[in-house]
């Protein structure tokens, strides 16, 4: 019986040592960890994030580290679980993060374009030429003409690739799962949607307008624009208040202060985020997105 009790003592000591290591004084807290939702070519996202990490490390005087993410949900959960300190999220996930954060998570900044964001519905060139899909001013014009068409959303968590397109389709009286021959969720973010439509793997798709506008000319030629949705609020930087009020203020200051006129490093970050500038924002501005998220019929989850 002696040996087990020694082992127990050792275990207890080890445990108490762990407990004593409170998060506030832990040296690891001196690293700020951030991530971005994987909504596009991940290689390029990593390059962009590395650029920002470098800039922030220099400006904040603290190591800022980029943690790659594999899916949107993990970004939200990472923030709540203290794996991440601030994150670049989409509209829906911004609402998720604020809700899960229970008062500790707030919007840090957004882009100028996010306050007037929109989705594009695109179609395969061959399908358009064959008259199976059409350019429209109102999605309702598609009603009754969707039989046999294969449709793809982006990631299920995407605001511009899934939430809002589904919302506008429903508003137009088109229930995707009923109307289309197949409804998919493209892998690889909005670039996946664009590739799938361009390659003819599907006839129709919905995606983020900003990525489409920047995409390769040839790809866009093979997947022309059919409909532009009304505007809504989308992406945002959100931070957990464990970062500390001072540091949050400093972080916001750096982000809002980015200007192409200040030099190449700042221009590179703004280019990478396709932003004219980052602007301040309040949590309440995402209330409309939250209403759409909560009001959406959840049949597609069953």
């Amino acid at each position: 019986m002696r040996r087990p009790s020694i082992a127990c003592c050792a275990l207890l000591c080890a445990l108490s040592a762990c407990r004593g290591d409170s998060p506030e004084v832990s040296p690891a807290a001196e690293v700020l960890r951030f991530s971005v939702i994987p909504d596009w070519n991940k290689g390029r996202l990593a390059e962009n994030a590395a650029r920002l990490a470098e800039l922030l490390t220099a400006r904040l005087g603290v190591e800022v580290r980029y943690e790659p993410a594999n899916d949107y949900t993990a970004c939200v959960n990472g923030l709540a679980a203290n794996k991440l300190d601030f994150v670049w999220l989409g509209g829906k996930t911004t609402c998720d993060a604020i809700d899960v954060g229970a008062g500790h998570v707030h919007v840090l900044a957004t882009r100028d374009i996010d306050l007037h964001f929109k989705s594009y519905f695109i179609g395969n060139r061959a399908a358009l030429d064959a008259g199976r899909v059409a350019v429209v001013d109102d999605l309702a014009a598609w009603r009754g003409h969707t039989e046999g068409l294969r449709f793809t959303f982006g990631d299920v968590n995407s605001t511009s690739g899934h939430l809002m397109p589904r919302h506008f389709l429903l508003q137009a009286g088109i229930e995707p799962e009923q109307a289309f021959a197949s409804v998919g969720y493209a892998e690889g973010g909005h670039s996946g949607t664009l590739e799938a439509v361009a390659a003819g793997a599907v006839d129709l798709g919905a995606l983020n307008f900003a990525y489409y506008d920047r995409a390769d000319e040839q790809l866009r030629e093979r997947a022309p624009l059919l409909f532009t949705t009304p505007e809504y609020v989308d992406y945002a930087w959100v931070a957990h208040d464990r970062v500390g009020a001072d540091r949050v203020a400093k972080l916001r200051e750096v982000l809002l202060g980015l200007d192409r006129a200040h030099g190449d490093d700042e221009a590179a970050v703004l280019d990478a985020w396709s932003a004219g500038a980052f602007v301040g924002a309040r949590d309440e501005q995402w209330q409309a997105i939250r209403a759409v998220r909560d009001g959406l019929p959840k049949g597609f989850l069953k």
Binding site: C18, S26, A28, K83, Y185
Partner: protein, 566 residues
């Protein structure tokens, strides 16, 4: 012995035809439930489009990226994969041992205790093993990423958990299947459970256990090579990123690296497997019981294993250290309710109706893929069998010319190479290759799983054929083809069926896993419910996966269809 053939003909064929008819019905039902639409295959338009896609992406696949930077990164990822596999398998084995002990009746009842408390404990352990095994490693990775982030640590833990599930169950069953009377002497000495295990059960089961552990290690390397698809690090992460980015030349490089890693481990374990197999046609001399030699061999194995584990720890040192130092900072107030939520599934009828509907997808995929895979493996088996190709003269009495013998060698090597390719590329990786040709949907998933399982089954099918004693084949007294059909097939049929059923369970889980990346069904709905924070519903889909595995397992056990285990 034509008379023997004449006698045999009437009964087996009718049963065979019945079996084939039943399988056809099952296949059609599966295809119907998946709403498999094969009509496009008949249209010239579809083939035209497929050709277009092949020209568009196939070029990239045939021209792998070979610049130094890419090669360096790929080599690093390959090392990560090996390290994940080594540590995952090791941790899984360490976890599996107590679980196997607890779930084995032979061990738990070894000291004569037969009361209900022991039975309850055994059943509890079995349920735990079912949970660990029923949830695919891809799903474990998705859950574990919440605490351990994206990277190799999540991958190795996900793999360790599922290895523990499979290994714990199979080892426990292997021990239960040992002839219990051989333990009697030990029991009468009043030995404790652990003593009976250590001196009786473990040595008796060592050979089969070791063979299975080796096979699992090989599977672990394959799983580790793709766990990155869902955030587990290693080659899979690079492969999936390259695929979703549409960078086909990088996809080609990564696929090649993946194949090199899996094939190397495959061939390596083959050497060891051969020593563990009991081949009636080539009896090995029983090595004399030399305690010192045995001890030396054990020491060698321990050193090699220790070095491998050490190298893996060194390779993954910094991510491991980071993950575990960060553990103290994790906000358990968030993680615990989240985790507990997975144990409190919704009990609403509509949800469970959806679970049942969603379960049909992996089930259908599993049925079709297993039938197709087993069919392919069976067709290829005679060509890869060394009995049929290289040693036919020992039972047909023929004298093949040098040219014919050379040709047969070529056929054998080709067949084995094809099978190595089939199983060397894991399901998800096949899915990526097939996506070029078939677009997304269920069809490429079925084919991907079918091809991979054809490769896996092919090897055990061929081993079974080679294990048929020549004396038995000689009795047919016919040429090679007839000997295979009337001599080998009837005696390997039940072995083949057992392996195919085992693979069926594996394939259904693969169907669930592919659901996470586009196949739909349980996997997809689980992920989507997590995304919309419908945790009770997500939990229902998670338990649906466990139930599916348990039902298949218990059904095949009740039907006594699976008499043997790898």
């Amino acid at each position: 012995m034509n008379a023997a053939r004449g006698e045999r003909l009437p009964s087996p064929p009718r049963r065979t035809w019945l079996l084939i008819a039943a399988l056809l019905v099952v296949a059609v039902a599966a295809a119907w439930s998946l709403q498999l639409d094969l009509r496009p295959l008949w249209s010239a338009n579809w083939w035209g489009e497929a050709w277009q896609r092949l020209r568009q992406f196939g070029g990239g696949l045939l021209a792998p990226a070979l610049d130094a930077a890419t090669l360096g990164r790929v080599a690093g990822l390959a090392l990560d994969t090996l390290a994940i596999a080594a540590l995952g398998a090791f941790a899984g084995m360490v976890l599996a041992l107590p679980l196997a002990l607890g779930s084995s009746r032979a061990v738990m009842h070894a000291d004569g205790a037969r009361g209900w408390p022991t039975t309850v404990v055994v059943e509890a352990f079995r349920l735990l093993l079912d949970v660990l095994r029923g949830v695919p490693d891809f799903v474990w990775a998705v859950l574990l990423a919440n605490v351990f982030g994206v990277g190799p640590v999540t991958g190795l833990l996900a793999i360790a958990v599922s290895v523990a599930g499979v290994l714990g169950k199979v080892l426990g069953e292997q021990w239960d299947n040992l002839p219990q009377e051989r333990l009697l002497a030990l029991r009468t000495t009043g030995a404790s459970r652990l003593a009976v295990f250590a001196y009786g059960i473990a040595p008796l089961g060592a050979r089969t256990s070791l063979a299975f552990v080796l096979m699992r290690f090989e599977c672990t390397v394959r799983n580790a090579s793709v766990i990155g698809v869902v955030g587990g690090g290693g080659l899979g992460a690079g492969l999936w990123d390259a695929f979703t980015d549409g960078d086909w030349s990088r996809v080609a490089t990564l696929l090649a690296a993946l194949l090199v890693v899996t094939a190397a481990v495959d061939l390596g374990t083959n050497l060891l497997r051969r020593r563990l197999r009991t081949d009636p046609n080539h009896p090995q001399l029983e090595r004399a019981l030399d305690r010192r030699a045995a001890g030396r061999r054990r020491a060698q194995v321990a050193v090699v294993l220790g070095l491998a584990i050490g190298a893996a720890c060194w390779r993954l040192g910094s991510p491991l250290l980071q993950a575990f130092t960060e553990l103290s900072r994790i906000e358990w107030d968030f993680v615990w309710p989240y985790t507990l939520g997975m144990f409190t599934p919704s009990l609403e009828m509509t949800t469970w109706a959806a679970v049942a509907r969603a379960a049909l997808v992996p089930l259908g995929i599993g049925v079709l893929a297993t039938l197709l895979g087993a069919g392919l493996a069976a067709v290829l088996a005679p060509f890869a069998s060394s009995s049929m190709q290289l040693e036919a003269h020992r039972f047909t009495g023929e004298r093949a010319s040098t040219v014919a013998r050379l040709a047969r060698w070529c056929v054998l090597l080709l067949a084995r190479a094809v099978a190595l390719l089939w199983r060397g590329i894991p399901e998800v990786a096949w899915l990526i290759v097939l996506a070029v040709l078939l677009q997304n949907g269920v069809t490429p998933c079925v084919l991907a799983i079918a091809l991979h399982s054809a490769g896996v089954l092919h090897r055990v099918f061929t081993d079974a054929v080679d294990d048929v004693p020549f004396a038995q084949l000689e009795r047919v007294g016919a040429g090679r083809a007839a000997t295979f059909a009337y001599g080998a097939l009837p005696s390997v049929a039940s072995t083949w069926r057992s392996y195919a059923l085992f693979q069926f369970e594996v394939n259904v889980r693969a169907g669930v896993a592919l659901g996470l990346v586009g196949a739909g069904g349980l996997g997809q709905l689980f992920r989507h419910n997590l995304a919309f924070r419908q945790h009770a519903d997500a939990a229902a889909f998670l338990w649906g996966m466990v139930l599916l595995t348990v039902v298949i397992d218990r059904a095949s056990r009740a039907l006594q269809l699976r008499r043997l285990r790898c």
